[in-house]
Amino acid sequence: MSEPAAPGAVLALRGVKKSFGGVGALHGVDLDIGAGEVVGLVGDNGAGKSTLIKTIGGVHIPDAGEMYVHGVRREHMTAVEAQRLGIETIHQSLGLVDTLDVAANIFMNRERVRRDPIGRTVGWLDKRGMYAESARALEAFSLPHSLLRRPVRTLSGGQRQMVAIARAVYWQPKLVMMDEPTAALAVVHAAKVLELVRSLAASGIAVILVSHDMGHVLQVTNRVVVLRHGSKVADMPTNETSHQEIVMYITGHRGTNDLAAGGDGHEDVRR
């Protein structure tokens, strides 16, 4: 399990464990992802997908195991540090504050302050700069400038999703994690998000896509990783697997049976 991280890996996990109040959520997960790679992270509800994403994003601190970002080991990484290292998360809840406007959300906890000494010490907001930059961020996703000063709660579901993605991309990430980005969207908007995933990958950004929609996963990913009860039970190239096979891993009709047969306590991992 302690094979060294691949040199080109944006992110490498080795035996990452996390439990909450004695209940194990992740039981030693290994994962590698390289630049421009799209990894589909699938599994049943409670399999540990969101926990894994939050651990990578610094929201949770792992109990055990190692995390390497660009080959450098990171311990006790906070959400802010993860962001600084180029890891952006688009949570299922989107993580937008509904009462604040779009620009305020794009810069949330990364507000620009004025450069003068007073600005720096007091944390004086550079609102003009933030609006200008947010306008650029929206432009990149062909969202209208008129959204800029609107509170997020007045936006449509599709717009909110795009704003969350625009925020992640604005910060020039190396790895983008998307938790169910298409679940709440109309078909047209979902297709747009998938297209976006492809273009992110094409520009060299690593993407982890959590989704229940196998069609979407098969469409845009290079690899599929299946979690079951907090363990990785499969890690396979997308073009070598099928909808059916993935579902069998998710439901435990594969992988866990092999585990019982093998009896060595190690999961059957196809690479």
Partner: protein, 346 residues
């Protein structure tokens, strides 16, 4: 509620907030007109100064409370901290003959310290601020009675009395200037600093704020500390106006302060609000109280009038905020106020 998008430069939330604050000022204008018709004494300089002094006292302690409410917490201890601040100043300056500036400084340190304690209990012990500050209400009030030995201490030196009763050019009250200064400072914190942004973010959606790395507990700690600070300022002003410190001076200011904040359009459940709305709320309350006294209306009717204004303000919020979630929130606010009113009149 999709606002028309063609070239929208202003945010719709700003627009609604401005309309909300503006409507309170409009009501103030109407009430002034009514009292002006009813009595010749209302619209005189001296009386308007009185209204301003009264409004300033409430607005100062309500300024800190506004920040706390925007952060989706509550501070029930402001009245008691106010009493303690005035009491400490009185004990130090009158009883022990300490210099005025020392009495003021100590009060202005104790206030935020108690607010800090509120914040620590809320953050680290995970006790809701409703309970934490209720406990502080008892502690601060008890402490105020202890230091004053259960009796008002009066007889401040003239320099201290200037805080609450001093006049500047054209006899303009110092208190009003202090209030404007406090309100402006809080306005700057809320609207021009990262901290203020975080206060709105934490109150608007604590989960989203914490996912972005904002420490919710830290933001709430600072909000409650600030509230303790403005309460202490209020205590100094009140003790100066009454020329005494006492354990029960200022304790009854909690509900008017909450009322001023809520009339001003700040949500009791966080995320929205402004300190200028609070100032308008305080001005409306003091106008009503002052005017009704001038036209010889029984004080019982004043309380009823204040209650009706609160309901009217809530109704206005209902009309301005059309989505269902907000409507449910307003119902909860009303319930809370009813409960608070019941508690006050046993």
């Amino acid at each position: 509620m999709q606002a028309s998008s063609a070239g929208v430069a202003r945010s719709s939330v700003d627009w609604i907030a401005a309309l909300r604050t503006g409507s309170v000022f409009a009501v103030i204008g109407i009430v002034w007109l009514i009292f002006w018709r009813l009595t010749p004494y209302f619209l005189t300089k001296d009386n308007l100064y009185n209204v301003g002094i009264q409004a300033s006292s409430v607005a100062i302690i309500a300024a800190g409370l506004t920040v706390v409410l925007i952060a989706a917490e509550i501070d029930l201890s402001i009245g008691a901290i106010q009493a303690l601040g005035g009491s400490i100043a009185a004990v130090l300056i009158i009883k022990h003959g300490a210099p005025v500036w020392i009495g003021i400084t100590v009060a202005l340190v104790i206030g935020p310290l108690l607010g800090f304690a509120n914040g620590i209990v809320t953050w680290k012990l995970r006790i809701p601020s409703f309970i934490a500050t209720l406990a502080m209400l008892g502690i601060a009030q008890g402490a105020a009675f202890l230091v004053t030995n259960n009796a008002p201490i009066n007889g401040f030196p003239p320099s201290y009395l200037k805080i609450g009763t001093g006049r500047t050019i054209a006899a303009f009250p110092v208190v009003v200037l202090i209030a404007i200064g406090v309100l402006f400072a809080v306005h700057l914190i809320l609207n021009k600093t990262r901290l203020g942004r975080h206060v709105y973010a934490v109150g608007g959606d604590a989960v989203a704020a914490s996912l972005s790395g904002i420490s919710i507990g830290r933001v709430k700690l600072i909000a409650l500390t600030l509230s303790g600070f403005t309460a202490a300022i209020g205590g100094l002003i009140l003790s100066s106006r009454l020329n005494a410190g006492s354990g029960d001076f200022g304790t009854e200011d909690l509900l008017p302060a909450v009322a001023a904040v809520v009339i001003g359009g700040t949500s009791l459940f966080g995320g929205t609000g402004s300190v200028w709305g609070t100032a308008a709320g305080a001005l409306l309350l003091s106008t009503i109280t002052n005017g009704l006294i001038l036209v010889n209306v029984q004080s019982a009717w004043q309380q009823i009038a204040v209650g009706l204004i609160i309901v009217g303000a809530m109704l206005l919020d209902q009309l301005l905020k059309t989505d269902r979630g907000m409507r449910l929130e307003r119902i909860r606010v009303l319930r809370w106020l009813v409960a608070a009113a019941r508690q006050q009149s046993p």
